[in-house]
Symmetry: none
Subunit: 542 residues, 2 copies
Amino acid sequence: MTQVDLYDTTLRDGMQGQGMSLSASEKVRVVRALDRLGVQYIEAGFPASNPKEVELFEILSGEPLEQAQVCGFGMTRRRDVSAEDDPGLGALVSSFAPVCTLVGKTWALHLEKVTRVSRAENLAMIGDSVAFCRGEGKRVIYDAEHFFDAWREDSAYALECLRAAVDAGAENVTLCDTNGSSLPHQIAEATASVVAELGEEAAIGIHTHNDAECGVANSLAGVRAGATLVQGTMNGYGERCGNANLVSILPALQLKLGYRCVPEERLGLLAETAHFVDEVCNVTADPNQPYVGRNAFAHKGGMHVAGVQSDARTFEHLDPELVGNSREVLISELSGRGSVLSHADRAGIQLDEEAARRAVERVKEREHRGYQYEAADASFELLLRREAGDYESLFRLESFRVVMEKREDSGVETEATVKIWVDGQRFLRTAEGNGPVNALDRALRDAITELHPHLADIELTNYKVRILDEDHGTGAVTRVLLDSSDGTDEWGSIGVSENIIEASWEALVDSLEYAFQPKNPGPAESAASGPVRSGLGRDEVG
Amino acid sequence: MTQVDLYDTTLRDGMQGQGMSLSASEKVRVVRALDRLGVQYIEAGFPASNPKEVELFEILSGEPLEQAQVCGFGMTRRRDVSAEDDPGLGALVSSFAPVCTLVGKTWALHLEKVTRVSRAENLAMIGDSVAFCRGEGKRVIYDAEHFFDAWREDSAYALECLRAAVDAGAENVTLCDTNGSSLPHQIAEATASVVAELGEEAAIGIHTHNDAECGVANSLAGVRAGATLVQGTMNGYGERCGNANLVSILPALQLKLGYRCVPEERLGLLAETAHFVDEVCNVTADPNQPYVGRNAFAHKGGMHVAGVQSDARTFEHLDPELVGNSREVLISELSGRGSVLSHADRAGIQLDEEAARRAVERVKEREHRGYQYEAADASFELLLRREAGDYESLFRLESFRVVMEKREDSGVETEATVKIWVDGQRFLRTAEGNGPVNALDRALRDAITELHPHLADIELTNYKVRILDEDHGTGAVTRVLLDSSDGTDEWGSIGVSENIIEASWEALVDSLEYAFQPKNPGPAESAASGPVRSGLGRDEVG
């Protein structure tokens, strides 16, 4: 089995993506997660390029990693100084990172138009820089910027650049499709030629971007042509359309193409790691993401569900558990009593046969009215609890009132008043808000937290509104989905009504009711058959 | 130049995506946009599978399309009836659609485990069904479900299935990677073999999914191996991880690989069409989407920006204008003074240089706050009119008030009161509604129609709500899009506010104001300089 190494550049190239920014300590958390997954090389950034990077390399130097090598990134020396006097290279070799990744030019157009350096001078810059880092005891990877454009225009010179790096001691030359201009067959051709020329002397790497929506396929084409290292980012973060997505490359290489990348048992950490990095980067996980998305193994159409039940291969390209994901028969198809029972079981709810039957009926009836429990695990669990009789209400509503007023040339003023009973006491509270739901949330929380102060910490993290039958104009049915968090767990609740305020109220109440229910053992522990399950936590409804 | 046809299944397979749902009239708008882009085949759905589909085929039968062929989708006959007696096939041949796309089995595992039909019987089902549709005068495309899995397991039988379709008169057999299990080299190999076997007798199509993040690359591999038709969806909508994304396939085929798909001048409509379909489907456009995303040609790193300035090729894989996108247009297509002027011209608004400059500033500033005029032509035109001074207000708001009350065990009661001045007279009206916006609409309309009775006929056909920064919980900014119709024309208006009621009010007022403005000659006639620009109609902003 051929070994292919993973080289993660989430912390450097990934941070070029719009809106990306991580603190040094967040970066360290990402490094730990990547190390655990089995990624061999982790590019942490430019050492000493700014105080945040200095801090990061400082922390990382003391971080005990299981197996990953930290790489510092830098450019070949400037044209006007020697490698020894180049401050960037100086910082690189002074850092603890055992691997230096040096990016340099390979494309004549680029030399002419951007850097204005002669071809010979560029070769010297590459050779000097690699030799300097080697002389300081570093391992060196040479990133050949714009390699594939260069190859199409002047393959002889592109190859000379690579050879300059290899002759100076680079153990790996990585071919970069910097603009994402290439398609898989072009990557395959050029990579195979380079492997034929230099494959005996150095390892060949591949670094692609997703501008043609071929980032993953391009990386796979590079490996099939002989590359043994793949550079990419978690979840495909990166500038423009992103870098090649390691989360999709890893399972394709290991499960579909038979290469070895990470220890087999680590692959099951893939989904968890991908979601964790999303979380740290404050990126909403893409539910449709290949392999690890919540919908990646979701089945909806009746025919598909029947197929999966008789033989999963009929509608699944691989076993979701191998990548730490799970099959999601959408709750809309859960009309079966068996699956309601298994859900109840996982949530620690005792549901007898008759209650299960009622719950199934209730789900069907509600889905018909527009409810959808796929992203509303809290509301689904409350529904089961109610049918099980295992349900204590947090409060009783006497009434609420929302008043919104607008005068010429002023904004809308919103005020909500709630009257509720909690543990036999009546609370009346009024609050203002920047909208009706916000005002209601504030008034309700104000009333409830008097007796249940811990509910004050719940944050509404996400509020989604969907008009179901949009062609009924403003009289349409509205579905509100609300995500909440207490800092540890996240849960989703739902409300449906012709009246958006009523729908929002329903979701709001479910969110707080859910937080108020006794904690069940939780799916993480009860399903801890392997490391695969630990932590998906909140998304695990199916 | 080899011709490769595009086959769009957004309206059928795309609708399998989570949360996707379109009304018949929304689907018609998508059909028009695809026709204009130059897509050759548009799969509209299963004729007669439900009342919405019946309505859709009814409308489409009278819809004058420029060049696209509408396809009806259905399955091969059931095992227990003849093709003539199969209700699904009956509906298909009775529909006006000139092309029938029949999906059928090719994979032995599937026959054994799911359909429980013998191999011979399956061949008969395919042949009978194709022959029946041909006999009724239809063109037939045969979609070979699970073709690539079938090929890997038993290529002889898979080929027999295709041959059964071709022998019975199918003009095209399309190879489907139904589970998205395949990688590009597998697609290439199998497709090339099929082309060698059947390429003389029928056209070969390719239909892939994105489960391995290779949907686009797989389609390209199929075409390079000889397929001449590509099935996919706009923006890659579809079940699980989505279908192959036509928005990325089209420019790769036409600009990178030299195939001919759509007339060259239509390619410039790509970005606009992709965003339009997102808008209709209430999907937030992916800013990182290849080719058409807002970030696809955005440059961040200093070195990149310098490179682009000296020669765009150094950091751009193609000229963004070719696909209707632009470099670093972070605002939108509307930011240029030239395009504002041409829009004003089309709407019959006299806009001088200074007013145009102000309008551009206003658009930028509003887009920064979350407005988006692509589907809100009415609001855009009103903005231009205001800057032109060519604007007469329909009414003046003194104030409105909305009160919502809920008591234990009853629904929310909603009442709105508006006080407005119309033509110097004051009107005070109160109305109830099933939600705050509905009540406001009724009260406002009641007040206005006293003096402007024709505004009573305006129907609010569509009401969409999108929370822009969902992670701000219930305090997030809300964008409301409202479609209105007077029976002849349709127009869109927009409102943005932290307060959903205020945003809705703004869109409501714009809708009525627009209807009240003097009629302009109409974009369809005045912009008839070329087919390219004439017709996203109300959505045409760029």
